[in-house]
């Protein structure tokens, strides 16, 4: 188990390394760049050339890459040119990560809390009105683009009804103390309940919009997987052993049906980040997704590079955690000591 974990971590490093090279080359091969973003329409051919030279953008790409790796190894990932110009890219990542995590965690919680019970119920009452309704709603969840849903939720619940704020993570006037960067958690830790509540209220609409992505998948996989499991021989065996229905459902059906669901949740984190780019933009939510969108528009190479690399790293890491969590759910994997 330990060797397996170490091997997977090494793989992670290689993935990040190769990806960094590809990203670095790709970003710099895009037309335009930070020089335009920095100078705007004030630029002249002369200042443009001077700045390009000063920033080292005339060097061959591999020279630029080697310089970048050299600095990166000492913890310097460059300084933002567009998202928050002048701030170290790493600071921007660390500052915005809690925002996106807060949002994603709430979205996942919503998706799981609704998706799994609903999937289970739908499977048990297959063909019922509930089943049909939830299948249709999950299809809508897949089909409607997340930015549209976000926009719609915002227009109705924030603008028209005024139940929720339209933008941001917290009201500007609230005098909140920052401890961890997770605004809700900070409010709880410092007992600034108004700040915690305000931050939580700001999370709800974007989280619901974002949850539409994992919800549909979690729901459908749960439903399909429960349907599969109830037909298995071991369920019939359990029934013939004389076990009560609740015990069978809890111990045999749910537990076995959960394996693919957990995998799915893990894989959905990637989709969540993609969704966060759109959701955060609609809700002016200062997280990783918004930084990616602004960074791309302004060709902020250091920030884009670091954010994409870290997101890829997190993605690979989560997949590793998913594999490891199999062991917790399925004792057979635990005793065998490996993945499958």
């Amino acid at each position: 188990m330990l060797r397996y974990t170490i091997r997977r971590l090494l793989q992670l490093l290689i993935v990040v390394g190769v990806l960094s090279l590809l990203l670095f080359a790709w970003l710099r091969s895009l037309p335009g760049g930070p020089v335009s973003a920095l100078l705007g329409e004030r630029a002249t051919a002369e200042t443009r050339a001077r700045l390009t030279e000063e920033l080292g953008l005339n060097d061959p790409i591999f020279v630029q890459y080697i310089k970048f790796v050299g600095r990166a190894l000492s913890g310097d990932f460059g300084v933002s040119t567009g998202v928050q110009p002048g701030d170290p890219a790493l600071d921007i990542f660390l500052q915005r990560l809690p925002a996106t995590l807060e949002l994603s965690i709430l979205a996942i919680i919503i998706a799981i809390a609704i998706g799994i019970p609903l999937g289970y119920l739908a499977a048990r009452r297959r063909g019922s009105v509930l089943d049909n309704l939830s299948v249709v709603s999950s299809l809508i969840g897949v089909a409607v683009p997340v930015f549209f849903l976000a926009f719609l939720l915002k227009q109705v619940f924030a603008v028209d009804l005024g139940w929720f704020p339209t933008a941001g993570r917290q009201e500007g006037g609230i005098d909140a103390t920052r401890v961890t960067g997770f605004f809700v958690l900070d409010g709880i830790l410092t007992q600034e309940w108004d700040a915690a509540w305000d931050a939580f209220v700001h999370l709800i609409l974007p989280a619901v919009a974002l949850a539409s992505i994992p919800f549909s998948v979690v729901f459908r996989i749960t439903r399909a997987s429960v349907l599969d499991v109830v037909d298995e021989d071991y369920i019939r065996t359990a029934e013939s052993k004389g076990l009560t229905t609740p015990v069978i459902r809890r111990r045999h059906v749910l537990r076995n049906a959960m394996l693919p669901v957990v995998t799915t949740i893990g894989l959905q984190t990637g989709a969540l980040l993609a969704g966060a780019v759109l959701t955060e933009t609609v809700f002016a939510f200062p997280g990783i997704g918004q930084a990616l969108a602004i960074g791309f528009e302004r060709r902020d190479y250091p920030v884009l590079l670091l954010l994409i690399l870290c997101s890829a790293g997190v993605f690979v890491l989560i997949n590793l955690l998913v594999d490891l969590s199999y062991a917790l759910i399925d004792p057979r994997i635990r005793t065998r000591g490996g993945g499958h």
Partner: protein, 557 residues
């Protein structure tokens, strides 16, 4: 059972991130004073982005200038609602006979927010600070405004407009220039030349800009301790939330701010800004899209339309297609474009057809210029006369951008494209993102026709014409025509003419030639940008320079 696992997962994630971001920045500040406020209250204003930093000397972006306008003041300020220079921290000034020495009489009894006195020494300290910039801060990305306005630095690598600043007495300074320029002292009204506290500048290492990799890092002063004399004081910048908080300066020498607190909140998406206003989350925002103006007014919001202080033009690049160096061809392009129609159909109310390369409120403007009416037949005739019936050029237009002078690039491009094709010009259309190749290609002379413009900084013709055509190696490639160098010389001569009347004549002459003889681009329109505020906000005076001060603003319940 099903519910337990996610909670545990969440807890795990939270803990992990807690370790990752173990940086506490506790800043529970006091809520500002309660003395002297007439109305009080907090106003939240939506902005298109967070400020890059707070030291206006290093700034190039709108959000930074907007914030610094509240915190700082310059020797010269612009009269509210106009682009006219007026006394600021200097009560008056006079120029010497030769036009090289400017004597400023300073306002007495003014203090910076940190208690430091504003006096002649402090003023000269600021001039010397700008002039003695060294190292990474000399990059055009950092001190671009200094280089545009004053040229080089103390190390004399490039000629500088500035020579020295001397203290005559505690309230009088003498600023010596190396040559006369019509821009001075108006340029001192730019937020970049705000007076900053010498004590704070030194204490927080204001000059230590460093280059890191392919960007620049700024010192503590610029990020956390801007200290000026203005009606608002910097309270804090909550970067994680994208909000800047300013509080009233109760010791302000002039008209004290009515608001207790002014919050600038970054909402980059335009639709999101509109919705935030509609929901009451913010009390106003900058640059509502013209398409939303009517709707906002119908909903009872106050739309403040600024006087248009910009120019939108169709640029003609002479570098690659020799036919474009023929005046007749450029005139054909001018006659082909239906400027009147474009202004009526594509631009907001208040927009005007441009006859000069700057608006009529600027010195030297004249209506005695050759106007190019929309006349497709004449355009075709001119093309035929020039032997350019088969003219084929590329036409660049930008995506991922709106500018005050160009609210809808796609639609405006489409309109002009139709005009040009109607007279038989073959267009090879190139669209690129603004920062993703558009500006780069245009600046490098790759575009034969392109859409661009300029937002004025201050009220002198040189701010417009000088920036466009002074260097013959410009985006229009005027250096490819024999008159390119002439135009450049004429502009420099006009700018350094001391006598107002003579100078006015010179600029009128240039404006005439620009239309009749040179035509390096076709001026299209001046388009007014707007601000929108909630019904209960009053006292905001829209400025053509988009540099509104909020001390006169009050907010009702």
């Amino acid at each position: 059972m099903v519910h337990i696992r996610p909670v545990r997962m969440a807890a795990l994630g939270l803990t992990a991130a807690l370790v990752l971001t173990a940086c506490a920045e506790s800043e529970r500040g006091d809520d500002g004073g309660d003395a002297g406020g007439q109305t009080g209250g907090t106003m939240t204003f939506g902005t298109e982005g967070a400020p890059k930093l707070f030291d206006p000397f290093y700034a190039t972006d709108g959000p930074t200038f907007r914030t610094s306008q509240q915190i700082f003041e310059g020797l010269v300020e612009f009269k509210p609602g106009t682009a006219e220079a007026a006394p600021g921290l200097a009560e008056s000034w006079e120029n010497s006979e030769d036009g090289l020495t400017w004597t400023f009489k300073l306002r007495e009894g003014v203090k910076f927010h940190d208690g430091t006195d504003f006096n002649a020494e402090a003023a000269c300290f600021n001039f010397e600070r700008w002039y003695n910039t060294t190292g990474a801060a000399q990059s055009p990305a950092v001190t671009g405004y200094w280089q545009d306005n004053f040229g080089g630095f103390a190390d004399k690598k490039a000629p500088s407009l500035y020579e020295s600043c001397t203290v005559s007495d505690p309230t009088t300074i003498e600023v010596k220039l190396t040559r006369y320029t019509s821009k001075f002292p108006d340029i001192l009204g730019l937020p970049s030349w705000s007076m900053q506290s010498p004590t704070a500048l030194e204490k927080y290492n204001a000059n230590e800009v460093t280059q890191q990799g392919d960007s620049f890092a700024f010192p503590e002063y610029a990020t956390e301790h801007p200290t000026g004399t203005g009606p608002f004081k910097f309270e804090r910048y909550d970067e994680a939330n994208g909000t800047v908080e300013l509080v009233r300066n109760d010791d302000y020498w002039g008209e004290k701010a009515k608001l207790d607190k002014l919050i600038f909140r970054a909402i980059p998406d335009e639709t999101a800004r509109k919705q935030a206003l509609e929901a009451g989350d913010i009390d106003g925002y900058d640059l509502p899209g013209p398409a939303d103006w009517q709707d906002l007014e119908d909903q009872g919001f106050q739309l403040l339309i600024r006087p248009a202080f910009n120019i939108f033009y169709v640029g003609i690049g002479q570098k690659n297609v020799p036919q474009l160096r023929d005046l007749k061809v450029r005139q054909a392009i001018a006659h082909a474009i239906d400027r009147e129609g474009l202004v009526q159909q594509m631009l907001p109310e208040g927009a005007e057809v441009a006859e000069n390369f700057y608006p009529d409120t600027v010195f030297g403007w004249t209506d005695d210029v050759q106007s190019y009416d929309h006349d497709p037949d004449k355009a075709k005739q001119l093309l035929a006369d020039a032997g350019a019936q088969n003219l084929s050029v590329n036409f660049y237009w930008p995506t991922e951008v709106t500018r005050p002078y160009m609210p809808d690039p796609r639609a405006m491009f489409g309109f002009i494209q139709g005009n040009l094709e109607d007279v038989g010009i073959k267009l090879n259309v190139v669209s690129k993102p603004w920062n993703g190749g558009y500006l780069e290609d245009v600046d490098q002379g790759k575009a034969d026709l392109f859409l661009l413009g300029w937002n004025g900084d201050y009220n002198t013709p040189d701010n417009f014409l000088g920036n466009f055509f002074s260097d013959p190696n410009n985006r229009f490639g005027t250096g490819n025509s024999p008159w390119g160098a002439t135009l450049s010389d004429e502009l420099k001569a006009a700018d350094s003419e001391v006598d107002d009347e003579t100078r006015q004549g010179m600029y009128e002459e240039i404006n005439k030639k620009l239309k009749a003889e040179y035509l390096p681009a076709v001026p299209i329109s001046h388009s007014p940008p707007a601000l929108v505020i909630a019904e209960n906000v009053s006292g905001l005076v829209a400025s053509p320079l988009t540099d509104e001060k909020f001390n006169t603003v009050s907010i009702g319940s």
